[in-house]
Symmetry: C2
Amino acid sequence: VSRSSHRGRGTRLACRLLALGLPLASAASGAPPGTGDPAPWLDEYRPPAARILEAARGDSTAWERIAHLTDTFGHRLSGSPALEAALRWAAAEMQKDGLRNVRLEKVMVPRWVRGRESLRLVEPFPGEMAMLGLGNSVGTPPEGVQAEVVVVRSFEELEARGDGLRGRIVLYNVPFTTYGDTVRYRGAGAARAARHGAVAALVRSVGPPGLRTPHTGALRYEEGVPPIPAAAIPTEDADRLQRLSDRGARVVVHLQMEARLQGEAESANLVAELPGREKPHEIVLLGGHLDSWDVGTGAVDDAGGSVVTWEAVRTIHALGLRPRRTLRVVLWTNEENGLRGALAYRDQHAGELKDHVLALESDSGVFKPLGFGFTGSAAARDTVRAIAGLLAPLGAQEVGPSGAGADTGPLVQAAQVPALSLTVDGSRYFLLHHTPADTVDKLVPAEVSACVGAVAVMAYVIADMPDRLPR
Amino acid sequence: VSRSSHRGRGTRLACRLLALGLPLASAASGAPPGTGDPAPWLDEYRPPAARILEAARGDSTAWERIAHLTDTFGHRLSGSPALEAALRWAAAEMQKDGLRNVRLEKVMVPRWVRGRESLRLVEPFPGEMAMLGLGNSVGTPPEGVQAEVVVVRSFEELEARGDGLRGRIVLYNVPFTTYGDTVRYRGAGAARAARHGAVAALVRSVGPPGLRTPHTGALRYEEGVPPIPAAAIPTEDADRLQRLSDRGARVVVHLQMEARLQGEAESANLVAELPGREKPHEIVLLGGHLDSWDVGTGAVDDAGGSVVTWEAVRTIHALGLRPRRTLRVVLWTNEENGLRGALAYRDQHAGELKDHVLALESDSGVFKPLGFGFTGSAAARDTVRAIAGLLAPLGAQEVGPSGAGADTGPLVQAAQVPALSLTVDGSRYFLLHHTPADTVDKLVPAEVSACVGAVAVMAYVIADMPDRLPR
């Protein structure tokens, strides 16, 4: 909900201002709202901000690096050799870029393996269906699980079926509205069906209708409830089973999944810095996650965010700019199925979290930038709004209500670190999210470069401005 | 080319007429162009045409039957039990509709079986890729075929590589322009690569970029050239291999396919009639093909055309209309990988082809109808144009240059049977063509009903008008 309603508000605000004859620039000039005062300290940042935006606009390195990374290594599921090779490649590139203190900080991650998997319609007539197992799911017995399908459209309908679910396979056929409203069927659907004795769960993919496109993602089991195998099916297959069921047909499917957890594997968060010239112990952190699901090549989620935050720091460095505080890029591991990277960073850096001035995450795609979400104090928000005014040339001056992301959330919770998340045009995001179609061609080089510019300006000013961003 | 340029011409023509202040209706009223004369014989068909269009508009049976057929039986590849079950189901439904002389006319068809298949990137880094074997392809040896990939963008580039192709896997990375221009790489690419000693062929899917969507379809081997396995890959995978190759990486893939021809199987064309009240031996044939590729559920290609032509006859019958000539529905088998149905129909009905007044095929999707393509004499074209004027309420009065389809072509060639093909808005067709995404949800009930109306009016008038459509 937040993403779309937030963007809607921004647009409406702009329309109202234009209707009133007010120049839009006044809303985006850097004046803290409600005061009418300008932010004179900001004036010295207009020239470097303009240089940064110009450099980013003329540079397609970010898109090319996302392409190189995802073309070469493919997907980067936690525990895979590809993720570790990608981490080593990125570390070596960062060294070549002249970044400092480049290091891999060890993190143990779960190694979940998909294996072979299939879904077969048995009745009313045999045939293969499209499917994609959910992350963290257990497998079926080797011979598979075969049972009649019960289609429900909500948890309420599930509960109403009660004992009628015993020995059945539940299909949650819930059309996508917002991610928040529908992802709970992917996350909790298997456990809730298992409470009633269901033997497996199918979930309509959490995303808009695509081209027979299944969306994976993590599920969570419950203590004391048997874990049952669960898979996503495309909207087309969900609606087919719904129609068959509505016509009164007995619908039987056969699910076979080799999915299993194979212990843990060693992985790492990749950290690199541009040390601050005056206050190197004060840290402006920015990053994305380098791991991905094991479908597609994880270009949108989240090679894009990883490379854009890294490229933001490289661009600042390449322009000879060196802010007062340290810019630290963190490419987290295991965001998708464990969050071990974020938790390890929080723990391994517990002693310096008080000096984390800001944590900026990019994990909503690197499409046309619209601005940032922010979590922090009102005073800090005013400062962020002022800086965001420098992004008016990109149309990226929005500052929305929520800035804590999956990987920065633990820092906010543990130490009230102010958090920014890059906000972009999200219209394509959930069509691609956790699907085989998450590949670099879905990203537009000019949009990626604009994201680099937006992130670089925001991070540079916060790292360099005379006063530390207030908590 | 013909489909899009033809539609473009129609739109431009309409715009020109409007710009000149001429009423559009004059172009669509039924007056043979160039004469300025009305077609007075047509007037008696305005009331039944209006009744047919109204009945079709208010009836969603066609969409529901496409859904029932494709939901229940899934894909209907030649030689599959699903195709034969679908044929029996449709025959029984036609009996219930009150159609006459419902019969299955035996046809032997090839049984091509896909089996398991996979494509794996070996170098520069191991990982799975998306693929879909081409129809009629041979398989690989059980251990697969592994070789370096040579990417070419045209047959010219292929020939220029010459001996450099020996022992290699060729990728044809040719962006989709029109079907006619790019399908030749799917059809002939394997054979032409094999001439130079290539061990397998990959073809960029013949269609616009989708969501990692591969497109299958038939290939043809050449006499005297060894058959090599061939598969389509999505545009994303083709561009990935292109970029890797352009960067100078050695690209090695491993292809494994169990595809094989397993002899022949018994199938059938399904025939049903509404016998003519005065000239039952004169036949207006209309139909589509009931077989499909073994991906998706073949709703667009061509359950839609099969059901629309069948429903056109059912609608005429249900209104109590009984034309002078016989309306004959033919649902052909094996259009996709052999054309055995069309050839068998031609041969089994050789004696009555002279009395085939018309053959109308629907095999370009049943989206918003725009009119028909026509192949036949100039005099017949004038008549068809006049009748198409009755479809102005649907906006389906276009009559384009070419009406012979895959299944009606043999009748045109053998006996100069005039041929019509339903023309529709083709903007979605090649996104879905021969893909797993060819499912009934891509069809819009109101558009399908409009197709029924257009086909029914055209077929009814040609079957009933006093003079036989001239050859």
